[in-house]
């Protein structure tokens, strides 16, 4: 499965995405919403990194900032050791084919006034100079790849079901033979039977084309199915990053433990004995995160030090990174 010594394709270091808050007549800058706050991780070639967390924790913002759909406040993102965030407009345009995105809402991510052929052909128009015939052949090839009937090429997005629309979105992302695809909750807007189809399609394409995914989701079971490694986000920060199996077997961070205890068990016997960790209170505002550890206001195992000093994100076991004071002593 995962070769931990594999080649790093994406290196994110110290990524920060702050959205300014302005107030008053003169739109004075009074603070920032820290949607993504100092996030660092690496994605190896051919693997799937799952990014999980609750609503509003900055998962999608993180994915978009990596592709520079937003202008991040600070940090560096390297794809194939070329910096995405420092690139000027032209260089960035040349780097675009390598990294693509599949969006959450397949309805909103397709232009209602373009036919399927035009939507899938758009990246080809922008980055290749294929003849009309070659372009059509490539469009048909992509439609075959994602399991769309060639007959659909002349139709418009509103004529499709959610799952088919997501296939169109995937075909568009594949058009330029990317290496890296950010899947921003690609299955959240689909119903369960279609979710499985789309996820299987993504896995199949990964095997066939050697793709690398950043799979953003709040569906822990689905991430367990598709991801090789999993990163857990809370309030704009990654608090735990580990290979899938150890993480699901023995979560280290108290937040991950609470999160995983909320996953329902299909076996009724096991479900009876499942003990949920119920967190108290609400997620603090990302505009005004608490002092010390971001999780200290809700953590069941909170200590004095948590309210004073921010824990560092470090390796506690080979390949397992946690940001928590509970594991700080063992490391130091």
């Amino acid at each position: 499965m995962l070769d931990a010594t594999g080649k790093a394709l994406i290196e994110v270091s110290g990524l920060k995405m702050y959205f300014p808050i302005t107030a008053g007549v003169f739109r004075k800058h009074v603070g920032d919403v820290k949607a993504v706050d100092n996030v660092s991780f690496t994605i190896y070639e051919g693997e799937t990194l799952g990014l999980v967390g609750e609503s509003g924790c900055g998962k999608s913002t993180c994915g978009r900032a990596i592709l520079r759909l937003y202008e991040p406040t600070a940090g560096a993102v390297r794809i194939d050791s070329k910096d995405v965030l420092a690139a000027d407009a032209n260089t960035l345009r040349e780097m675009r084919p390598k990294m693509q995105m599949v969006f959450q809402d397949p309805q909103a991510s397709l232009n209602p006034r373009m036919t399927v052929a035009a939507i899938i052909g758009e990246p080809l128009d922008e980055h290749t100079s294929l003849s009309k015939k070659d372009k059509l052949a490539r469009i048909y090839e992509l439609m075959d790849q994602v399991g769309l009937n060639r007959d659909f090429a002349n139709r418009y997005p509103h004529e499709f079901s959610g799952g088919q629309r997501q296939r169109i979105g995937i075909a568009r992302a594949l058009a330029l033979n990317p290496k890296f695809i950010v899947c921003d909750e690609p299955i959240a807007a689909l119903d369960v039977s279609i979710q499985a189809q789309v996820v299987n399609l993504l896995e199949e394409l990964q095997d066939r084309l050697g793709l690398t995914y950043l799979f953003i989701s709040h569906d822990l079971s689905m991430v367990r199915h598709i991801a090789d490694r999993v990163a857990v986000m809370y309030l704009g920060q990654i608090i735990e990053l580990a290979p899938r199996d150890p993480l699901y077997l023995e979560p280290l961070h108290p937040y991950t433990q609470a999160l995983l205890s909320a996953v329902p068990e299909p076996d009724p016997e096991a479900e009876k004995s499942r003990r949920r960790i119920i967190l108290k209170g609400d997620v603090p505002s990302p505009a005004n995160p608490p002092k010390g550890c971001n999780f200290c206001t809700r953590c069941p195992k909170v200590m004095d030090i948590c309210r004073q000093i921010e824990p560092t994100f470090h390796e506690v076991q080979p390949g397992r990174y946690v940001a928590c004071h509970l594991y700080q002593e063992t490391a130091g």
Partner: protein, 313 residues
């Protein structure tokens, strides 16, 4: 093989040939949908008829619109003068045809100019954040100007130099068209800007950015087709108001020269004697209304036909 078996087989072969049919031009779909809109078809027919009358009519009906026959003043409908004559004995049918040519060309050109200006400014203001402030303040400035005095000022200032360089008729035509165009783009600009602001946040625009589509193609490919509906509506309304503004200018004596017929001019010339000769008011009035109405219906049909979500229903 029986007849019943043949039919599905034939259907299948057409289905198979369909799958290899190259993506056809969107305009065929648009035309197919346009044909299903009854009002639009009737509007188109009426508009074509009006255009044909105006363009071909003068060749068949050879009385000069400016020919004064004082012995035949204020005549009613007859074979010699189907629509009668006015107080100077000029034939109203030929004046209507000549007037229609001017009114419709002024209406169309002024509308095109105002839509072009309004859409450009609206799209730029909506899409580029930096331009939004200056462009929208400019729009507000134009909205706040009293338009009629401004038009009068423009006409008095520029009439003579333009007449000199382009000839009296085309000079005045240019002046009136640009005056109307330059003072009626603001509504369009505001509507378009609002739409663009909403569109810009849609995910398909983000998707296009992740592909690396540059701004100008983003506008032509993703933004403009999606703001077509409001543009179409303001275009059809714009023709009507351009024709009416032109008649107001003519009425004030600042449009085309007095003997030069336009529909608005005919209307206002006839207002004095409305009680005695109501048909002289009704005829140009009906012509203006029919044109405006048919253009509105055409616009309505086009807007529906251009929206793939409505198409095919």
């Amino acid at each position: 093989m029986t007849e019943t078996e043949k039919a599905p087989a034939a259907a299948q072969t057409t289905g198979a040939s369909l799958s290899y049919r190259p993506p056809r031009s969107q305009w065929w779909d648009v035309w197919d949908q346009f044909k299903t809109h009854k009002g639009a078809l009737i509007g188109l027919t009426i508009f074509v008829l009006i255009l044909a009358t105006i363009l071909i009519g003068p060749i068949l009906w050879t009385i000069e619109p400016t020919y004064v026959d004082l012995r035949a003043r204020n005549q009613g409908f007859s074979m010699e003068h189907p629509f009668g004559t006015d107080q100077l004995g000029r034939d109203i049918l030929s004046r209507m045809m000549a007037g229609g040519k001017v009114s419709i060309s002024v209406g169309m050109t002024a509308m095109a100019l105002s839509i072009l200006l309004g859409t450009t400014i609206g799209v730029l203001a909506g899409y580029f954040r930096r331009l939004e402030g200056p462009l929208m303040r400019l729009t507000d400035l134009f909205l706040a100007l009293p338009l009629l005095p401004l038009l009068l000022l423009m006409v008095t200032l520029f009439r003579d130099p333009l007449s000199k360089s382009f000839g009296p008729e085309s000079g005045i035509f240019l002046l009136i068209v640009s005056a109307i165009g330059a003072t009626s783009w603001m509504q369009t600009a505001r509507i378009v800007r609002g739409e663009v602001l909403g569109l810009k946040e849609r995910e398909f625009v983000l998707a296009a950015r992740s592909i690396g589509t540059p701004s100008r193609r983003m506008i032509t490919r993703h933004v403009l087709p999606n703001v077509l509906s409001p543009i179409m509506v303001s275009a059809t309304l714009g023709i009507a108001s351009a024709i009416i503004t032109e008649s107001a200018l003519s009425f004030l004596g600042l449009g085309f020269p007095p003997d030069f017929p336009t529909w608005g001019r005919l209307l206002f010339d006839a207002v004095d004697q409305m009680q005695l000769y109501p048909s002289r008011v009704i005829l140009p009035g009906v012509a203006i209304s029919l044109t405006v109405l048919s253009v509105n219906y055409i616009g309505d049909g086009l807007r529906d036909a251009l929206d793939p979500r409505i198409r095919g229903r």
